[in-house]
């Protein structure tokens, strides 16, 4: 801890906590959402392709 006297100092960000953490939180969430969507779509695609293959084989 070179910059910060305490954790509460750290979270306060010199009074700008809302702005700084708001930025980082939203960025984190957006990235998380992208990765999650990507995984979900990937899984859906595989499932869909398998289903269609089954149909075609019938």
């Amino acid at each position: 801890m070179m910059e910060w006297a305490s954790w509460s100092d750290f979270w306060a960000m010199g009074g700008y906590g809302l702005y700084v953490w708001g930025s980082y939180a939203v960025t984190f969430l957006v990235i998380l959402a992208e990765v999650a969507l990507l995984r979900q779509h990937g899984r859906q695609a595989v499932l869909k392709l398998k289903r269609m293959k089954q149909w075609e084989e019938q």
């Binding site: 010199g14 700008y16 702005y19 700084v20 957006v30 992208e34 398998k50």
Partner: protein
Amino acid sequence: MSINWYKYASPATFYGLAGRLIPGFAWAAAVLAAAGLYIAFFLAPTDFQQGEAYRVIFIHVPAAWMGMFIYLVMAFWSAVGLAFNTRLSFMMARALAPTGAMFTFVSLWTGALWGKPMWGAWWVWDARLTSTLILLFLYVGIMALWAAIDDPRRGDRAGALLTIVGAINVPIIYFSVKWWNTLHQGASVKPSGTSMDEVMLAGMLVMAVAAWFYSIAVAFARVRRIILERERHTDWVNAQLERA
């Protein structure tokens, strides 16, 4: 050069290659992001003008860079696709767009959150801000066009044409907005690249490289899905499905 580019341009080969590369890029991105965040919050000193608020810069600037850079890469792949009719290029362009839009959105969001304490307003009609907003509109327009066309061939080409027209227009838009803004006396504070502390700069660069690797990993993952959907009647995809 003896590398057989056409081999790697074949979706089947690229599918495997991308699959092997993704974990590497993903881990590199994670490690670099951790390092960047450590620098950002524990090594970089407090800014004497802006106080701690400036720490937004470590995501704001990399995100802004990636937003613009990814558009250029998309335009490049679109041009390649139209010129050489390589399917993989179009797929790359498609895979990149959501990530580009995401970064552009992040740069807008973080900029807005930064602007409130610094300028006293969430938003001002500054040249950089406005042109970033228009860039987001371009991304959205391209993705909306893709979404509206369900024939993949047509979608690829139409999207590529729009991307390229946009790429020619982006510099024009940027300068027009700048010109427009300076003729009026606009916002008095502007984001300025004043001489920067070296640690700060290092943190920003590390974060930028992390964003870069992240984009590559995500785009590869997305392109793999697109390849699967497009090539689903081929034998290798069937074999792939057996395994999955």
